[in-house]
Amino acid sequence: MKRFEKITIKAMALLLSVFALESTVLAQGNPTLSDAEVASAAVTANQIDIDFAAIAKEKSKDTQILEFARTMANDHQAVIDQAVALTEKLSVTPKDNAVSKQLKADAEKTKAQLRAKSGKAFDKAYIDNEVAYHTAVISAVKDLLIPETENAELKDLLTSVVPALEAHLEHAKMIQQKMSKK
C-alpha cells in the first residue's frame, strides 16, 4: 500500500511538473514555442523513453519487460526518424528550450532511481515509470506541443503520435496489473 502511495505521488509530481511547464509557457502569451522548439521537445521526449528502455535491457530478466522495452525503443525511434526527416524537409533546426531542458532534468533523476534498483524491484519501478511517463507525455503533446505548433505537417505528425503513446500506456498498465498479481 505504501509503495502504491509513493508511486502515485511520483506520478503526480511528474504530471505537475509538466502542468507547471505548460502554465509557464502559456503565461508568456502566444506563440511561446517556435516549431524548432516544439520539434526539439518532441525528439527529447521520445529519446528519454529510449534511454529508459536501454536501462531495462541492461537490468531486467523478465521477458515481458524486455519485450515491452524493445517495442518502446523501436517505436520511439520511428517517431524520432519521422520528426528528423520532417525538420530536414522544412529546414527547421530543433532548438533546445525550457520544455526540453525540464524533460531532460526530470529524466536524469528517474534514470538514477532506476539504476539504483535491481531484480523484481527494478521491473516494478520501470513499468510504474512507463505508466507515469506516458501519461505525462500524452498530456504534454496534446495540451502543449500540438497547440503551440504552427506548421501543419508538424502538427499532423504530433497528432499521429498520440494513438501510439496511448497504446503504450495501456500496454504498460496491462503489464503493471499482471505484475501486481504475481
Binding site: N74, D75, V79, Q82, S160, E166, A167
Partner: protein, 114 residues
C-alpha cells in the same frame, strides 16, 4: 493474307475451342474469391471485425509509422512477420480467427469466415 472475315472468325472460334478443351472451368467452380483490405492505422485494425467467405484473401496494410504484426490469438497457428511502416501482408482465410499485435497487445481484431 487474312480477310477481315477470317480474322473475325478466328477471334470467335479460337476462344470457343479453348473453352471446349478446358471444359468451361468458370461455370463449375464456386464464385471467385474476394480480397479484403484491412488497414492498420492509428494503432487499430480497421475494420477490427471482418466477415469473409472461405478462401478469401485478407491484405493487412500498415499505415502507421511504427512496426506492427498480426498474430493469431492462441499464438500457435499463424503469425505475420513484423510489418514495417507502409508494408503489407496477405493471408488466405479458411477458418475464423481472433488476432492481436504482438508488439502492442492492446491492438486486437477478429475475422469471421462463413
Amino acid at each position: 493474307m487474312m480477310t477481315p472475315m477470317l480474322v473475325a472468325m478466328h477471334r470467335v472460334l479460337f476462344p470457343c475451342a479453348l473453352l471446349l478443351l478446358t471444359g468451361f472451368p468458370t461455370l463449375q467452380e464456386r464464385p471467385a474469391t474476394k480480397t479484403h483490405r484491412l488497414e492498420i492505422v492509428r494503432m487499430k485494425f480497421s475494420p477490427s471485425n471482418l466477415s469473409v467467405q472461405p478462401g478469401d484473401t485478407v491484405v493487412f496494410i500498415n499505415l502507421d509509422m511504427v512496426t506492427h504484426d498480426v498474430t493469431e490469438a492462441s499464438g500457435k497457428t499463424w503469425k505475420s512477420p513484423p510489418l514495417a511502416a507502409k508494408s503489407s501482408w496477405k493471408k488466405v482465410m479458411k477458418t475464423s480467427a481472433s488476432y492481436y499485435c504482438s508488439f502492442h497487445p492492446v491492438m486486437k481484431g477478429t475475422i469471421t469466415v462463413k
